[in-house]
């Protein structure tokens, strides 16, 4: 169980995150939604020890993550950030192989390669295995990054806008894969999502953020109402029922 305690982040005088108290469950899909600049990405960075909070702490099973051994932590939680600026010329296989680094420390075994191939297949990247990532399209590269963190095989998986650059087919495929990982392999998947309909259809829980604070933490059914959504995004939104599911046609 990952918990945050009075987590705060300031840049100079501007407050990015204010007193965040959250609990991430040990399994299931959680989506974090909210308008731009709400602090979603910063929250993920803090929870995954990529950044140090101004005050407050994050604990994994009760112990502060900043005091845990970083190498061991890499087997328990993985994060994929929104921007991945990689200049190295690495093949897709190289990149995914680095996802297994916490286990093999540079000497991948046959078991590691099993995991690598599994992740590559899952992301439908077999034909691009030997291609350099800087020569792939944006969507293919995004899938390669996701394959990398999938291969990391952690209990907690944090993905910041994983559907960036992806077409409809691959977006659905990835959401289904993540859903399956959460249900069958009992993993905890935490996503920052832009599309509330994707978030509502695949999540067990939705966390809504605004101005650096948590304003809602609830089931999709309770979040997908006119009042709640309009309040989160500061615009009039209407939720409709289509095929028994709540859908918000925000683009109309």
């Amino acid at each position: 169980m990952i918990q945050t305690h009075q987590l705060c982040l300031n840049y100079g005088s501007s407050q990015i995150l204010k007193d965040i108290n959250l609990t991430f469950k040990e399994s299931g899909v959680t989506s974090i939604i909210g308008p731009n600049g709400a602090g979603k990405s910063s929250l993920l960075s803090l929870v995954c020890r990529l950044q140090k909070p101004s005050s407050g702490s994050v604990t994994l099973h009760g112990s502060n993550i900043l005091q845990l051994d970083n190498a061991k932590l890499a087997k328990q939680l993985a994060i994929l950030r929104q921007e991945n600026h990689i200049v190295s010329r690495l093949t897709v296989e190289d990149l995914v192989c680095f996802g297994r680094f916490p286990y093999h420390q540079g000497r991948p075994s046959a078991a590691d390669f099993e995991q690598i191939n599994w992740a590559i297949e899952l992301m439908e990247l077999e034909e691009f295995k030997q291609r350099y990532i800087n020569e792939l399209s944006g969507g293919q590269r995004q899938r390669a990054y996701i394959a990398m963190v999938l291969a990391q095989q952690t209990d907690y998986l944090f993905l910041d806008e994983p559907l960036n650059n992806l077409d409809m087919k691959h977006s659905v495929n990835i959401m289904k894969t993540l859903r399956k990982a959460a249900s069958e392999m009992k993993k905890s998947v935490i996503l920052v999502m832009h599309d509330i309909n994707f978030a509502a259809s695949y999540s067990d829980e939705i966390i809504a953020m605004k101005h650096g604070e948590i304003i809602h933490q609830d089931t999709p059914e309770n979040i997908m109402t006119n009042e709640v959504l309009s309040n989160i995004y500061d615009m009039p939104l209407k939720v409709e029922q289509i095929h028994g599911k709540s859908v918000c046609l925000y683009y109309l």
């Binding site: 960075s45 995954c48 020890r49 990529l50 970083n70 190498a71 061991k72 932590l73 890499a74 087997k75 993985a78 994060i79 950030r81 991945n84 600026h85 990689i86 200049v87 190295s88 010329r89 690495l90 093949t91 190289d94 680095f98 996802g99 680094f101 916490p102 420390q105 540079g106 350099y132 963190v149 990391q152």
Partner: protein, 313 residues
């Protein structure tokens, strides 16, 4: 990867043999030739190979640390910082042994390089071309300080001649420090995975459980030590650490576990080739290898820049 090594290795060996045979004295089977071979020719060829290997390796490590393809010790102020250390020793402790000169040169190049990397942190990743530009100007500023101090101490001529790569004075007993640089390159190979990972950036490294700071400092130390040793011993060969890793990267990518051996071999090959050219172009006079490499290196650098640009569009 193996096919490239099988192609490169015989070539480099052939170059090494040619390098042994080129010189004013044509070798015969007698004692005099044997002496020349043992005292001058073999040390020189070994020194060339060691410098080629280690400077190329230092270049590629620098590229991982700066996360930029167009940097190497001579475009990041590393060389100039080591030179500055040397100059201080020449002024204040001219009697000090080579070891102490080396030590001070290395410490000063660690500081200078760390300062460059600190400056880089202040620069947002606007464009990959800004980083080498800042590095070259930073090196120029340190160079101006060196010139200023050296001019006042009347060491201007000797300090720049010392730093410019020149292997014509290499004799047995005067190059052995370079083995240190070669050894460092070998140790660096055993940490290739960690260095590659550090090249993916701090956040990716931390996510994968790497002790980023430790690897960063280790890379910094390796680069600075190699640069320090070559500055003190044989002088630096410009652009070598830039062009060799870039060309190898085009062939086999940037996974250092795979590419580092090829980078090392090709670096040695290129240096041997340049040195042979430097010796035969104006035979029987020699041209400093740094001059030859300056021409070849800048042409390849221009090619790489234009290639990158046409790919980006």
């Amino acid at each position: 990867m193996h096919k490239y090594i099988y192609a490169a290795l015989p070539l480099v060996i052939a170059l090494a043999i040619i390098s042994l045979l080129v010189g004013n004295h044509s070798l015969q089977f007698n004692a005099e030739s044997w002496d020349i071979l043992m005292i001058s020719r073999i040390p020189r060829t070994l020194a060339l190979i060691l410098a080629g290997v280690s400077l190329s390796v230092a270049g590629v490590i620098m590229q991982q640390l700066a996360r930029n393809k167009f940097v190497e010790p001579s475009t990041t102020g590393t060389v100039e910082s080591a030179t500055f250390g040397m100059l201080m020793m020449l002024i204040f402790f001219p009697e000090a042994s080579v070891f102490y000169k080396l030590l001070v040169a290395c410490i000063s190049s660690v500081i200078g390089t760390a300062l460059f990397l600190l400056i880089l942190r202040k620069v947002p990743l606007r464009s990959g071309y800004v980083v080498p530009l800042i590095g070259i100007m930073y090196a120029g500023v340190i160079g101006a300080i060196i010139t200023f101090v050296a001019y006042r101490a009347e060491l201007l001529q000797s300090i720049w001649v010392w730093v410019q790569g020149d292997f014509s004075m290499i004799l047995r007993g005067r190059y052995e420090l370079l083995w240190l640089a070669g050894g460092l390159s070998l140790i660096a190979y055993f940490t290739a995975d960690k260095l590659t990972l550090a090249g993916l950036g701090k956040q990716v490294s931390i996510n994968l459980g790497l002790n980023y700071t430790l690897v960063f400092v280790w890379g910094l130390v390796v680069v600075s030590l190699i640069t320090g040793v070559t500055v003190v011993n044989s002088g630096v060969i410009p652009f070598l650490g830039l062009v060799v890793p870039n060309i190898i990267s085009l062939l086999v990518g940037d996974n250092l576990r795979r590419s580092l051996p090829l980078i090392a071999i090709s670096g040695a090959g290129l240096v041997l080739l340049c040195d042979i050219l430097a010796r035969v172009i104006n035979y029987p006079y020699e041209i400093p290898i740094a001059t030859v490499m300056g021409i070849i290196g800048s042409v390849i650098f221009l090619y790489l820049l234009l290639r990158e640009d046409s790919h980006a569009n």
